[in-house]
């Protein structure tokens, strides 16, 4: 696969993704926390973002089901796990706590590296540290068992 085919579709996807996050106000942590503040001054904007994105993706999944291979690639490589394990639940729970505390998840955090670097940098650095910590603790667990 040529470099262009490897690079351009993800680059275009990232550009659209960053535009969408910024247009919808999701790069503003106040708006994200406003959505999670269901017992306070609830801001439903994030629900509209999810609806817009999910409707488009629901169509895309139907198209994908009829395709033999991706337009710019050789094979589909998609998650196929169906088991509901404790890691999924605990991981999602820990992620949600962090998401609520700062109003940032990975997408808006990386988009904010360009918009508000002084706030986004410490968050992204800590996020990478958290990812590394997870990797190290998992490797230890595996080697012990």
């Amino acid at each position: 696969m040529s470099l262009v085919r490897k690079l351009l579709p993800p680059l275009a996807s990232g550009l659209l993704f960053g535009m969408g996050l910024t247009v919808s106000g999701m790069t503003n942590p106040q708006r994200v926390r406003g959505f999670l503040d269901v017992f306070g001054a609830w801001d439903p904007t994030l629900a509209f973002v999810m609806i817009g994105a999910i409707v488009v993706m629901a169509v895309a999944w139907r198209m994908q089901a009829r395709m033999m291979k991706p337009v710019f690639g050789d094979t589909f490589s998609l998650p196929d796990r169906t088991d509901l394990d404790p890691r999924l639940l605990i991981g999602a729970a820990v992620f949600g706590i962090g998401w609520g505390i700062a109003g940032l998840c990975p997408g808006p955090a990386i988009a904010s590296l360009a918009l508000a670097p002084s706030a986004a940098l410490p968050f992204v650095a800590a996020m990478l540290a958290g990812m590394l910590l997870q990797k190290i603790t998992m490797e230890r667990k595996v080697s012990r068992s």
Binding site: S13, G14, G98, G100, I110
Partner: protein, 145 residues
């Protein structure tokens, strides 16, 4: 456009941004044959995760994301973001990084791509991080944060 009863909500911005995010994820799926999950792509690009898309592809997406955000910021004055202080950002970033890796995804991978595919793992993860996100915002506002 405003929503009756929710003066701060931006439903139209939310929908338009959501559709852009959906198109971004659709381009990644149908173009590259991959899931547009930001936490997974970040782990792949930085080398924290070893499997998955080509690192060139991961970096294409990761560079596109802030550039797309910047393009919208230059085109409009929408909308100033307010961030937490850096100790809060660091604490939240650690939880987001650890949790998204343990739970195999974040708002984009589980919330948009997985939910639109009706993946049971993603539906459970999304319900979980929404619930703990709501809990952490609510507890913080109870404590006066």
């Amino acid at each position: 456009m405003t929503l009756p009863g929710f003066p701060d909500a931006a439903p139209l911005h939310g929908l338009v941004g959501g559709v852009l995010i959906g198109l971004a994820a659709a381009l990644m799926l149908l173009g590259a044959g991959r899931i547009a999950g930001v936490s997974g792509i970040l782990a792949r690009g930085t080398g924290i995760a070893s499997g998955g898309m080509a690192r060139t592809s991961a970096w294409g997406f990761l560079v596109g994301l802030p550039l797309g955000a910047l393009a919208i910021r230059f085109a409009t004055d929408w909308e100033p973001a307010r961030f937490a202080g850096w100790p809060t950002l660091v604490l939240a970033g650690l939880a987001v990084g650890f949790g998204t890796r343990l739970g195999s995804g974040c708002t984009s991978g589980h919330g948009v791509c997985g939910v639109s595919r009706l993946s049971q793992r993603s539906l459970l993860a999304t319900a979980t991080f929404m619930a703990t996100g709501i809990a952490s915002v609510s507890v913080m506002s109870l404590l006066g944060g």
